[in-house]
Amino acid sequence: MALILDLVSGDIALFHVFTWLDIGSVHQDLKELLKDESENIRYSFPQLLIAFIKEQTSSIVKLHNIHPYELHTVASPKRENLLPTVNNLSLSSPSPNFKNNGSCQETRKIRKITPQRLDLSSDSAFPSLQQSAQTREIPKKRRINPTQLIESPVTTRVPLQFGSCSRPSPPALGHNAFNQAQEQSCHKSLDQERALLKEKKHQITIPTISDLGSTAPKNWMCVEPDISFVTKLSQLDRLSALCSFCLSRNLVPSLFSEIQFLIQLLVLRVSPAKLKQTHLVQSLLDSVHNCVYFSAKTLEHLEGIWCHVDQSVLQQLMHNPRLLLFCPEWTNDKLPKLISSITNVDRIPPHKTVANVAFQTETDNRFNFASDSSFQVFRKQRDQFCEAWQIWKVNSSIPGWNMSIALQKMIQSLVDLRRDCVNYAHLARLFRSQLLNVAQLVKPINELEEPDGPLGQLQSSDPDKLRRLRDRLTNPPESRPARCVGTENDIKMHFEGDQEFFRDFILLAASPAFNEHLKNSLVSGIEDLSSSEDCDDRAQFAETVIALQVMAKFLGFLHFYPHASADHLPEHIFHHLSRLRISQREPIDLVSYIKDAFYKGRLVLVIPWVVTYLTLADPVSLCLPGFHSVLCHLIFVYRKAELAPANAFLIRILLGWLFSQSNFPLPLLAKPDDDLLIEFGNLSLATTDDQLPRLDQSRLVDSSLIHQCCPFLWSWKHLLAEFACSDAKNSGEKASVSRKITPVSAEENPSPVKAPAVKSLQKSLEENFFHNQPSSVKRTVEFVAERLASNVVRDVRHQIIPRLVLHAQATLKTWPSTAKDPVESLCLQLCADVRNEAASAATSAIASIESTLTALLPNDLLPPVRRVCVSIASKLTQGKVLDWIQLHVTKSLFKNDLEVELAKLDKSCARRVPGSPTASDKPQVVHDPTTQAPSFLIDRLKTLIRQVIRDASKVSEQDLIDLLSNCEGTLHRRVDVTPIVSKCLQQLTFDLLFIVCVFQPESIGSQTIIAWVAFWCKTYPSVDGVETEEPVQPPGALISTCVWQVLTPKQLLLLAQSTSPRESWNHVTTLLLQLMKSGLVRYKDVQEQAIAVVRQEWPQELLGRFATCVRDIVDWHRNQKSEPNLSTSESCDDDGLLSWLSWFCAQDDL
């Protein structure tokens, strides 16, 4: 501390200090100050500096008077149990947990140099309004276990850590006189602590925005900074210069927190009354004027940073009254220029209208499942998953809605609906797709807040929604227990907006199998996207980065959740746990990703997700040896990686954020470069096999992406905006609210399949060939081959196989029943057929390669080179097709289909209805819309029949002729007649004709019956030999299901009602004869029907007519038999039975 004080108040040229910090060479003037500790101090100097500034500001910052808004937002409890956010300005604070872990020496060194951390993060530093002056200062040394109170309202909006795992800083070891003095001055009793604790707990329960304003004092005063009151100007200038130097050279571990702190200083507010009451320790930064001056000057110097920050932040800076006062040049001139120079490339994809995960035949259809049942079950799972998501979306913002009550059962049942790896894998895929689809863009929009902007409009149109939005913003989800799954004590990892659904889904599902598959899916998703080639487009790149972050976040959640604890882990337990996990393997090899990215220039893609993943890590994880290397790599990257400015800013902000997490093992941060280099060098140099585009130097990142990746950056704006809000009387106008926008998806870009590492001479020739060509050549060739092969495979799957299977199914019918295993031999034949056809399909596909490649490859390619490309592509295509055939075209592929068909065949043999035309039997018809619709025709026939029977309405001969032509039209010239309908029409037409024969015999013309029978014959050809083998023989003496029933009891009953029985019987006999002549009814059928009739009692007159009819049939049959050219099997039937029946019925005395 003294060193800094000396430096600032001395007159050593700062230039020398900078050189020393940069390269380590110590100027003569400095030597004196640094004594012999030059190297020791060099790496810790920046932290020392920060600590100094904080110490200097501590006394005044304590008096900061929070705006009423601040009060409430601050009070949100336990938001960051595991992921403490911006609140930890802590640069040091080695936890007890790290004390014995590794280098003790380093730990001690850090303690020595940063003893003042407590000032900022402890309760005393930034008391809330409600706290009395006494309770404000609590002893910093004391460890309150298990609950620790850390309050630093100014540092962030969400800082209070209740029951958190943040560890209190160890007491300073007394190397510093100032420190000792502090310790002595702040002894307080335990009771006071308890009182404070109670008060804190009480506060936690009331964090709603509704009581805003009511409790807040309407007017309050604060000291306005005035440049003329600034003291020790030159010292402040020197301090500011040192500070901005360290910040801009990445010497400070967390760029983010330090700027945050500077902004806090800028908006510092102290009430004059308080100022008077309090005795301030004399220091460099002991007045509001000095603090604001220092902050303004330093911020002004950080030019390299502001160009990457969102415009709205700059706007806030530009309009900040204090900056206007202290750096007029900056705010009036440079900032506006900067703002106008930032071209706001809007890369947020246009409002997305598709919010569902599209069904892709490639990955989702039946062929991607092992069995029908698996496929069917997943169909259900898919719908239920979507349903759960929709229910959540609709209800989650409703207060009091409880996801676990509403959805737990559904989620659990859907996840484990079928305990099968295929289903789990598909579900995990769906989960991931949906997650990427909807949850990846939970972020504030990068627009200026205008009164007439969306929120302004919301205020007028739906104030309640705005309130809920605000509520949600100020009371993060974790503080609303109703929405959260699990008990209040449960650990909540930090997820925002729609991502909560996915987190809670995992928690509620509580399915280890699903988790495992999800992990795999996420790991492979990260793998795919990390090696994605399609990053040259800025929008694509942004999507990829966000998608990677989301996947990493959930992977981290799945991996670290079991290790999370809401409690502070006592040291012995901590060590026990770390011993248990000493050889635990990470699901993803971070070191190799980082190393790879470093050498391949893809850090800007990889670092964001690595950081996201690590911010979810539990404290034990980060101390495991496996992580040691990862963290060292990251620190090295932070210090040394060279990227384009915006890219560098992005990864440094992110890394700085990670380093400032309370879990982070701070000793590592003080490691000299050389130590880190050893870590890096330990690993064999990555192969510089550069297939992937280098990204680090490309201009891919802009401020909107930075803010998307680092949502915590908005806290800068919030601080400024809050200040502006409370400053202006109309505080509602410029409230700083983060907006949520519709999420969009990142498409998955699977990397091309890697070929096996078999190397032949040809192979290496090929490799070299591509190596010396532009990389696009290889990509093009591979792409074309991939697509062509995929098309061939698709053809095989959807055309060739179904066609051959259909054919085989048909052959199955004619297959000799003597064959032992028809299915087996057919399968073998099918395999051979499919292979042949697939091979020829591949050959014909290859024919188009030359023209395709000519169009796609660079124009200046030499013809021989192009020819080689064509041949390689052909080879690749053929290879891929063959691979697929080998793998998929096996007997088992067909077995199922054929067996099902065989079973069907057995069944349908039994059930087959004669004459029902099936779709395949039908010749191609051209639809004639002028014909009557089948449903209309059915209705008409039905009505007609009813009317004839019940109301005796007249049906003319012409009506029957018209009907016949209508029926012909409908049945022969329409494409919308289903088999059932056709069958129904058959029945109805027959019924109608029969009924007209019975009830209105006069309407039946000479040709009527013949015409109808001809129509039936044509439309419903009888299938011989099938219907007789009717197995359904119920105990009701059901003979045949044939439609053409003329002599059954019902028909006779109708005939009995005829008013002119003779005509009726004549017609019916003709009908029956015609039916027999045309082969629709067989003699045998008549026999059976007749026998059934005589089992019942009938009036004698009817029996007489029946006898006549039967005799006519017998006569006709005899004549038939005598005709030699018509010798069917039937002809040898004995007709004695029917003759006897006829004679029997004709007896009067029956």
Partner: protein, 282 residues
């Protein structure tokens, strides 16, 4: 003739429907609501009847009640009552004629252990009443089938046919509009797990809304019907293909779209004529 009803009209229609006797309700309604299309009225009546049956079928066909009805029927036969015995009985007990006939047949063909006969047998007999061995039962059943517009093989065939007819009609209309699409059979062949009637291979826009699929429903869309379809079909399509369109050819109750909340599924009573196709010029 209007096919789209607002909630108020629909409610008053249902009210009047409840008060009407079972027969000829369509004609009576036509007088009360002359502005509505007859097909729509038929459809609403049919759906009301189905709803009623869904509610009471189980209660009305317990083995005891069937036994009683069968006794009544055989008695009437013995008493040589006028044909139409079952029809009258149907009015009396509140089962539709075809459902009553089916119960009676089941009872008539009951097995020796008094269990119901095979379903296949019963449906075969219903389809072709001439096969029923008891002439009176056969004739009575036939009369029932002719009278019933909602149940029985003839009514089923009509309904099925109507659905299919509209599907085919829709396909043809789309072809006329030069919209390229896959229909159910294609989708099934390609191994889709859920198959809307029409999946548009190139999406079109209707009234400013992009749609990716069309489902054809040859009936009247009231809330209950619509919710049922949403659950079983429409949401599944949405989940897979995004926003789409459902056509209730016989009309629907206004404002059903509200149920979907943020899932966009348009409802129309005919194929919109103002479809905007994707611009395919270079």
């Amino acid at each position: 003739m209007a096919r789209v009803l607002n909630q108020t009209t629909y409610n008053s229609l249902l009210d009047s429907l409840c008060k009407l006797p079972f027969r000829n309700r369509v004609q009576s309604l036509q007088k009360l609501f002359p502005e509505l299309s007859v097909d729509t009225l038929k459809c609403i009546v049919a759906q009301e009847c189905q709803k009623r049956m869904k509610g009471s079928h189980g209660r009305l066909t317990t083995s005891e009640t069937v036994e009683a009805m069968y006794k009544k029927f055989t008695n009437s036969i013995l008493m040589n009552e006028e044909p139409g015995i079952l029809l009258r009985l149907s009015d009396e007990v509140g089962l539709t004629p075809a459902l009553l006939a089916r119960s009676i047949i089941e009872r008539h063909y009951q097995r020796d252990d008094k269990s119901k006969p095979a379903k296949l047998l019963v449906s075969t007999l219903m389809k072709n009443t001439a096969l029923i061995d008891d002439r009176d039962l056969a004739f009575e059943t036939y009369l029932c089938l002719l009278e019933d517009d909602e149940y029985g093989p003839i009514a089923e065939a009509t309904k099925q046919s109507r659905g299919y007819e509209y599907e085919i009609y829709l396909r043809m209309e789309l072809e006329n509009c030069k919209v390229s699409f896959l229909h159910e059979d294609h989708l099934r062949m390609k191994g889709y797990d859920k198959t809307p009637d029409i999946k548009l291979e190139i999406p079109v826009a209707v009234d400013g809304q992009v749609i990716n699929w069309i489902e054809s429903k040859a009936l009247f869309g009231d809330e209950e019907v619509h919710r049922g379809y949403l659950k079983d079909q429409l949401y599944s399509y949405w989940n897979r293909f995004g926003p789409g369109l459902v056509i209730y050819w016989f009309g629907y109750v206004e404002d059903l779209e509200k149920i979907h909340q943020n899932r966009i599924i348009l409802i129309r009573d005919t194929l919109p004529r103002n479809m905007v196709l994707m611009d395919q010029h270079l």
